[in-house]
Symmetry: C2
Subunit: 308 residues, 2 copies
């Protein structure tokens, strides 16, 4: 059994080490040194060059290093073998931590207190009780549900919008366009955790912002393609939105000189909200291969028609 690892943004050495610990019989090759393409059975990839996977004649299974697979699906030559996306506890809970951190930094005024500290000023600013703060989550998949649970544990009023109705304890569920509008009107903070599809591209746009209460905050931890970037700064600068926390961007790395870098009400992080930690995720990869070899049903197989 041979697996090809291909990613320029994950640590190949750590991945190889963690995989070998768990599957000593699995030979792991790190692209671009892949030897005979006909020997590759499995591929573990993040944004591989288009055509790379099509050149592996005996490929049986593709595992994505991330939860979002829209970049992979843009490769028109992608082989029609099962495609599994990465959904691990580590990634999911990482995301819940990132979302909680961004919600709290805004609600509990972390940045304002940091400024006051610089000025040597003791000035309690007050804050709303969490139970009076509405948080709308776009997308109630694994990531949305984990984030919703953590926020609900702190007493925030959590709402979630998804394609099909979901039952999550302590979370009010909304669906459809009408449901979206109802949720937006009550969302003091709006968190995007949707998959990126033709339906969700540019969903965070001027029209959506206008439906949020004045002073709302937008947090995007999904994909840069969800945000109509040109609409954000005007909504903040005219005072309708209080600001935004963005982990993902249309172009990554966010280009030098992009206006998001210098905007005082936009917090930029470099796509670190949900990291696939090798120590936590290698088991998932090995399990997918074991299930495949045993002819058993795989978990988290991508529905290519839906895009996730």
């Amino acid at each position: 059994m041979t697996l090809l690892f291909c990613s320029t943004s994950d640590n190949a050495d750590r991945w190889v080490g963690e995989l070998r610990k768990r599957a000593p019989n699995l030979e792991v090759r790190v692209w671009p040194e892949m030897g005979d393409p006909a020997e590759i059975d499995y591929a573990l990839v993040w944004k591989p060059p288009h055509g790379l996977l099509a050149g592996l004649p005996n490929l049986k299974l593709i595992v994505s290093l991330g939860a979002g697979v829209e970049a992979l699906l843009l490769d028109p030559t992608l082989p029609q073998v099962p495609l599994v996306r990465m959904v691990t506890d580590g990634l999911t809970l990482d995301m819940a931590g990132y979302v909680a951190m961004q919600v709290l930094r805004w609600e509990r005024k972390l940045d304002a207190y940091a400024e006051l500290q610089k000025a040597g000023r003791w000035e309690p600013l007050g804050h709303r009780p969490a139970s009076e703060v509405g948080i709308g989550i776009l997308g109630l998949g694994e990531l949305g549900v984990a984030s919703a649970r953590t926020l609900a544990s702190m007493d925030y009023r959590v709402m979630g919008w998804s394609r099909s109705p979901k039952t999550v304890s302590g979370v009010e569920s909304f669906t459809g366009e009408e449901g979206l509008h109802a949720m937006l009107g009550q969302s003091d903070l709006l968190v995007c955790l949707l998959p990126l599809t033709e339906d969700t591209r540019d969903i965070l746009n001027a029209e959506l912002f206008a439906r949020l209460p004045k002073g709302a905050v937008v947090i995007n931890a999904a994909r840069g393609g969800h945000l109509a970037e040109a609409d954000l700064i005007p909504a903040i600068d005219r005072g309708h939105l209080a600001g935004a926390s963005l982990d993902v961007f249309a172009d990554e790395p966010l280009p030098p000189g992009h206006p998001f870098w210098a905007h005082p009400r936009i917090h930029v992080t470099p796509h670190i909200a949900g990291i696939t930690h090798p120590s936590r995720a290698a088991e998932t990869v090995v399990e997918a291969i074991r299930l495949f070899e045993a002819g058993q049903p795989l978990k988290n197989v991508v529905d290519r028609a839906k895009g996730y």
Copy 2:
């Protein structure tokens, strides 16, 4: 029925409004305008002047506006009537939010990313999976348990130290001096949520810091008296501690020129971790009075020997 409200750090107007909504028959007087002291049945107080309560001959019950009552117990003239401390969902969950925010700001490198943004630099710094991060909580009362639950929901490895063993799902319990030392050795972050008593004063000192792993972070959201202030900066500056987040101080407001203000690895907030929101807490006060009037057992009565 007449209640005296006495606090210089809570909003009297909001408290009076919230109490009247719930108990129209309760007359609320705001110190120092208290009229005839013999008419006062109940007192709702935060740091009242020593002797004030002793001057109320018909006082039946004291309710503290905060969860910590050590300042009240320092008044040698404090009347021997039941003393109830404020434990409300609002305060407790506020605290859990503050603790989560401080843990995440350190673990997820919020301040480092803010610096990188100022420099226009896209540089993922990596972070440990939450499951590999040990968090020790000193004190497993209402506040400690709520914080533990929120941190556990994000997959942090949560431990708690308390006088008597506690059973909290997903939290490893430690007691006694041996238990304290065992927990400290595994605490990448240490959170203090203890009551302030003679046993816990100055517990955060050089000897305790030395038992923490190198690079640990100390978070104090309990009372300034828990921290031996002179020990903190040396432990950070010689590189043993990564830093600290402090919400409480020996002298509040933290005096101008105090070295904590300007230290780059100490985050100062002005005692805002747990706020008693009138809209959330007025019901607790009214309920305490109702229980007292009905001769029923009160909740959260202070054991004056223990000090909490």
